[in-house]
C-alpha cells in the first residue's frame, strides 16, 4: 500500500484498495462539510460548558448558565399564578353577590370552582354534582339547608355533622323505632308516600297522618315540607335523598341513617370556597 495510485481519468489519488478492479478515489472532504464539522465541535464544546451535560454520580454538571427544565416549569407556574393574581385579589375582596354580578369574576369563579369541585367534592357528589343515594344532587332545586349563595358557602365551609367544626350544621332525626310501634311506623310511611304517590294500603294513610302530626311535624312541618332551619328535608316533593319506596321510608323512620360532610374551611382557602360556592350555585338549582 506504500506506493501511490492515481486514477487516470480524474487525476485523483485513490485509497490504494482494490476490489474486482474498482478503486475508491481519495478526494479530500469538501471544505463546507469540514467547516460545518468543526463548527459542530465548537458548538458542542460551548454547549457542554453552558448547559447541563456531563453525568456525574448524583446529577449532571449544572452548566454555567444554570439552566434546568424544572426551573422553567416553576417560572411558568409563577407566571400563570401572577396572571391570575389580579382577578383572585378581586374575588378575595368581593362578596359572593358581587362576584356573581360581575361577568368576568363569575366566569373565573365558575371555572375555578369546577376545577376544585372535581378534586375535592366529586368523590361523594359525583363529577357532575349529580349525587347518589345518601349524597345530595347539587343540580336540583331541593336544598336541605338552603340554596342561596351565603347558605351554600356556610355549608361548604363548616360541613354537616362534622364534629371537628363547632359551627357545623347538625340535624339529628331520632330513631323512632324506640318510640313507635312497628305498625305505627308503617302507617306513617304510608302517609308520607301518599303525599307524592300511591301507598300500598290506602287505609293506613289516615292514622299515619295523625302519627305524623304528633311526632314528625315539629321538624318536618305540618305540611311535611321540611324546615331548612333544622335541615329537615321536604317529604312532599319528588326528590328522595336516602330512600326509595315505602319500606325504605319505614326503615329510615325506625333507625335513620345520617350522612356527614366535612368542613372544608380548614383545608381550602376562603377564595377557593367562594369559587366552589359560585360553581355549585350556577349548576341550575341556585336560589
Amino acid at each position: 500500500m506504500s506506493e501511490k495510485h492515481v486514477d487516470e481519468i480524474s487525476g485523483v489519488e485513490t485509497t490504494g484498495h482494490e476490489w474486482d478492479g474498482i478503486r475508491e478515489l481519495n478526494n479530500p472532504l469538501p471544505r463546507w462539510w469540514l467547516w460545518t464539522f468543526y463548527a459542530c465541535i465548537v458548538w458542542a464544546l460551548g454547549y457542554t460548558v453552558l448547559y447541563p451535560a456531563w453525568p456525574m454520580l448524583t446529577e449532571a454538571t449544572p452548566g454555567i448558565l444554570g439552566y434546568s427544565s424544572r426551573a422553567d416549569l416553576t417560572t411558568e407556574m409563577e407566571t400563570a399564578k401572577l396572571a391570575q393574581g389580579d382577578i383572585l385579589a378581586k374575588i378575595s375582596q368581593s362578596s359572593l353577590q358581587e362576584i356573581v354580578a360581575d361577568p368576568q369574576m363569575n366566569q373565573f369563579a365558575i371555572a375555578g370552582g369546577a376545577s376544585a369541585f372535581k378534586v375535592n367534592c366529586s368523590t361523594c357528589h359525583g363529577s357532575g354534582a349529580e349525587g347518589s343515594i345518601g349524597y345530595p344532587n347539587l343540580n336540583d332545586d331541593d336544598w336541605l339547608w338552603g340554596g342561596d349563595l351565603d347558605t351554600i358557602q356556610q355549608t361548604i365551609a363548616h360541613g354537616i355533622r362534622d364534629a371537628v367544626d363547632p359551627d357545623t350544621r347538625i340535624a339529628d332525626m331520632p330513631a323512632f323505632g324506640d318510640m313507635l310501634q312497628t305498625n305505627e311506623i308503617r302507617q306513617v310511611a304510608a302517609y308520607v308516600v301518599s303525599l307524592t304517590g300511591t301507598p300500598r294500603d290506602v287505609a293506613m294513610v289516615e292514622p299515619g297522618k295523625q302519627i305524623f302530626l304528633d311526632n314528625c311535624s315539629s321538624c318536618h312541618g305540618e305540611d311535611a315540607k321540611g324546615n331548612r332551619e333544622l335541615g329537615a328535608p321536604n317529604l312532599a316533593d319528588a326528590i328522595w335523598l336516602k330512600v326509595n319506596g315505602e319500606a325504605e321510608i319505614a326503615e329510615q323512620v325506625r333507625a335513620p341513617k345520617h350522612g356527614v360532610m366535612p368542613a372544608w374551611q380548614a383545608r381550602l382557602s376562603s377564595d377557593t370556597i367562594k369559587q366552589l360556592t359560585v360553581y355549585v350555585h350556577s349548576l341550575g338549582g341556585g336560589e
Binding site: I9, P103, G126, S127, G128, A129, E130, N137, N139, D140, D141, D142, T196, N234, D237, A238, I239, S282, G284, G285
Partner: protein, 532 residues
C-alpha cells in the same frame, strides 16, 4: 428534455432535419464535463414591440394591485374593520370586499386555490407558459429590477463594458445606487405584504414610528431579503434551478399548446451574408443570424435551439425578431407563438416529410409569399377538448363557490347536551336538561335572535345570564360578529303518563325575525330510565 427539444437536433450545422429518430441531442455528455455549471452573467438588451408593451402594462397593473389593494377602504359599519382586503389572523376573520369568511368557512379559500391550480392548467394547455412569461411575481419583479439596472447602467453593451471595467469611482457609485434602489423596491415589496394582515394606515404609522409588532419587522426583513436576492441577484436561476413549475409544465403542454417558437422551416439555413449567399445560388432562410433574439432574452438562451425548459415564453425575442424582419421587409413571425402541431406540419413541408434538409424553396412561392400548405396559427385550437374540460371543471368549482357563498348561513346554532348529569329531577317532579348552545352571529351588526324550542310543546327554558323567567321563546341579544356560548336549562313538567323509555327529540330554533334568517339544531331530551 421536453416534447419540443425531442424534435430537434443540436443546432450544429446550418440546416436541421426534423424527426425523432435522428439522434439523442445532449443526452450523452462526456464524463469529464463538470456537474456544476458556473453562472454566465446575462445582460438582456431592451426591446420595443407589442409584447414588451403588453408586459409593461401587465407589470403596472400587477404591481398596482399588489401595492394598493390594502389601502382600499370598504365600509362595513362600526363593528368591523373598514379595509377591503384584510386577513385578520388575531380575530380569525378574512375580509374580501363584501365577503367575510370565518375560519370554518375556509373551504372558500381552498376552493379558490383549486380554481387557481386548475386555472393554471387551463392557461398552460391553451397558451403555454403564459404564467411564467407575464404573471409570475418572479418575472414581474425581475423585469422591474432590470428596468432599474438599465436606468442606472445603460443598455446591454454599456452593462457589459461596465462589468468588465475596473472599480472606478463611477462604477462604484453606479453599483451602489443600483443596489440601493433594488433594496428600496425590496423593502417596499416586503412592506406592502404586511398591510394585508392589519389596518394599513395604522400599521404604517406604527411601523415607521417603531411601535409595530416584532413579527411585522421580521416579515418585512425576510421578504426584503427574498425580493432582493431572488429578483435582483439570482433572477433566471430561480426559474431554472429552484422552481418546480417549468418541469411540471413539460407535462402540461401538448401539441396544440401555444409556445414561443423559432420557425426554422422558414429561418434555415441561416446566414449573416444572405445576399452574398443568395447571389451564389445557395439556399437562404429568413434568419440573418443577427442574435437579436439572444441579446434580449432575460433567461440567456437561444430560442433557435428549440423549445427548452429555461424558456419562460416572455415573447421578447418575438418583438426583437419582428423588428428585424420589419427592417428587412420580410413578413413577421420568424419567431412567433405557434403550436407544435402547426410547426411539425410546416416542417414537413420544408423538409419534404423529413427526407431532406430544410429547403427554403419548398415553403415559398416565387414571389416570396408562403405556399398554401404552410399553416398559420388559428385561434380555434385554443378551444379543444382538453381546454374545455379544464374550463368546465374550473367553472363548475367557481359556480359551486358562488352558490355556497349565496346560500351560506350568517346565523348558526350548535347545541351540546350536558354529559353529566344527563337529566335533573326537580322537587316538583319535572325533569330538567342542561345544554350549551353556541350561537354564531356572523354579521358585523348586533342582532336580536329569538331562541325557541320546536317539538317539546310543554317545555320551558331558561338562559343563564339572559333571563331567569322560564319561557318558550327567549330573545338573545347577539353581539356583532361573535360566537356566544349560552347555558340553557330546558324543563319538562311532570307527567305521570309519560313512558320512561321515551327520549323526546326536538329542535332548537334560532331566528332573526327582521331578516328571517334561521338555523335549527336537533337535540334530545333525556329522561330517567330513558335510553342513554
Amino acid at each position: 428534455m421536453n416534447l419540443y427539444t425531442a424534435n430537434h437536433l443540436q443546432p450544429a450545422g446550418g440546416a436541421r432535419i426534423s424527426g425523432n429518430g435522428a439522434g439523442g441531442g445532449t443526452g450523452s455528455a462526456p464524463p469529464s464535463e463538470p456537474l456544476y455549471e458556473k453562472r454566465q452573467k446575462i445582460f438582456p438588451k431592451s426591446v420595443k414591440g407589442r409584447f414588451r408593451r403588453f408586459k409593461w402594462l401587465f407589470m403596472v397593473v400587477a404591481l398596482a394591485i399588489y401595492y394598493l389593494t390594502p389601502w382600499i377602504r370598504w365600509d362595513r359599519g362600526p363593528h368591523a374593520p373598514d379595509q377591503a382586503v384584510l386577513i385578520d389572523l388575531s380575530a380569525r376573520r378574512f375580509y374580501f370586499f363584501f365577503i367575510e369568511i370565518w375560519p370554518q368557512e375556509f373551504f372558500f379559500v381552498a376552493g379558490l386555490l383549486l380554481m387557481a391550480g386548475l386555472g393554471l392548467f387551463l392557461l398552460t394547455s391553451a397558451v403555454g407558459r403564459a404564467w411564467c412569461g407575464y404573471a409570475c411575481p418572479q418575472t414581474v419583479w425581475v423585469d422591474l429590477f432590470l428596468a432599474v439596472e438599465r436606468f442606472i447602467d445603460g443598455d446591454r453593451n454599456a452593462q457589459i463594458k461596465l462589468n468588465a471595467s475596473p472599480w472606478t469611482f463611477a462604477k462604484i457609485s453606479k453599483r451602489v445606487s443600483k443596489h440601493a434602489i433594488w433594496l428600496l423596491i425590496a423593502v417596499l415589496t416586503g412592506g406592502a405584504w404586511i398591510f394585508y394582515f392589519a389596518d394599513a394606515p395604522g400599521l404604517a404609522f406604527d411601523f415607521v414610528t417603531g411601535q409595530a409588532a416584532l413579527v411585522a419587522y421580521s416579515t418585512v426583513a425576510i421578504l426584503t431579503a427574498t425580493t432582493y436576492i431572488l429578483g435582483g441577484l439570482m433572477r433566471e436561476q430561480v426559474c431554472i434551478y429552484m422552481c418546480p413549475w417549468p418541469r411540471i409544465q413539460g407535462a402540461m403542454l401538448d401539441e396544440h399548446s401555444l409556445v414561443v417558437t423559432y420557425n426554422d422551416w422558414r429561418g434555415e439555413p441561416r446566414s449573416r451574408h444572405a445576399k452574398k449567399a443568395a447571389a451564389a445560388g445557395q439556399p437562404v432562410g429568413d434568419c440573418v443570424d443577427c442574435d437579436a433574439c439572444v441579446a434580449v432574452c432575460p433567461m440567456g438562451i437561444d430560442i433557435r435551439d428549440g423549445q427548452q425548459m429555461a424558456c419562460i415564453t416572455c415573447a421578447l425575442c418575438i418583438d426583437a425578431c419582428d423588428n428585424v424582419m420589419d427592417k428587412l421587409g420580410k413578413p413577421r413571425g420568424l419567431i412567433a407563438y405557434a403550436t407544435l402541431d402547426e410547426y411539425d406540419s410546416n416542417m414537413a413541408v420544408a423538409t419534404n416529410g423529413g427526407q431532406t434538409v430544410i429547403e427554403p424553396a419548398r415553403v415559398r412561392n416565387a414571389d416570396g409569399s408562403f405556399v398554401d400548405r404552410i399553416r398559420q396559427f388559428r385561434w380555434q385550437v385554443i378551444f379543444r377538448t382538453r381546454t374545455l374540460i379544464y374550463f368546465g371543471i374550473w367553472a363548475l368549482i367557481g359556480l359551486g363557490l358562488v352558490y355556497a357563498l349565496l346560500a351560506r348561513d350568517r346565523l348558526q346554532l350548535n347545541v351540546v347536551h350536558d354529559r353529566n348529569p344527563q337529566f335533573v329531577l326537580e322537587s316538583d317532579g319535572s325533569i330538567r336538561n342542561g345544554y350549551t348552545v353556541r350561537l354564531l352571529n356572523m354579521v358585523p351588526e348586533p342582532r336580536t335572535i329569538m331562541l325557541s324550542l320546536d317539538g317539546l310543546p310543554q317545555a320551558t327554558m331558561r338562559v343563564v345570564g339572559i333571563t331567569d323567567v322560564p319561557g318558550q321563546i327567549v330573545a338573545i341579544p347577539a353581539e356583532p360578529d361573535k360566537a356566544m356560548a349560552l347555558r340553557v336549562f330546558v324543563t319538562l313538567p311532570p307527567d305521570r303518563d309519560r313512558k320512561l323509555s321515551q327520549v323526546p327529540e326536538f329542535r332548537f330554533v334560532a331566528e332573526d325575525r327582521s331578516s328571517h334568517e334561521s338555523d335549527t339544531y336537533n337535540a334530545t331530551f333525556n329522561l330517567p330510565g330513558g335510553k342513554k
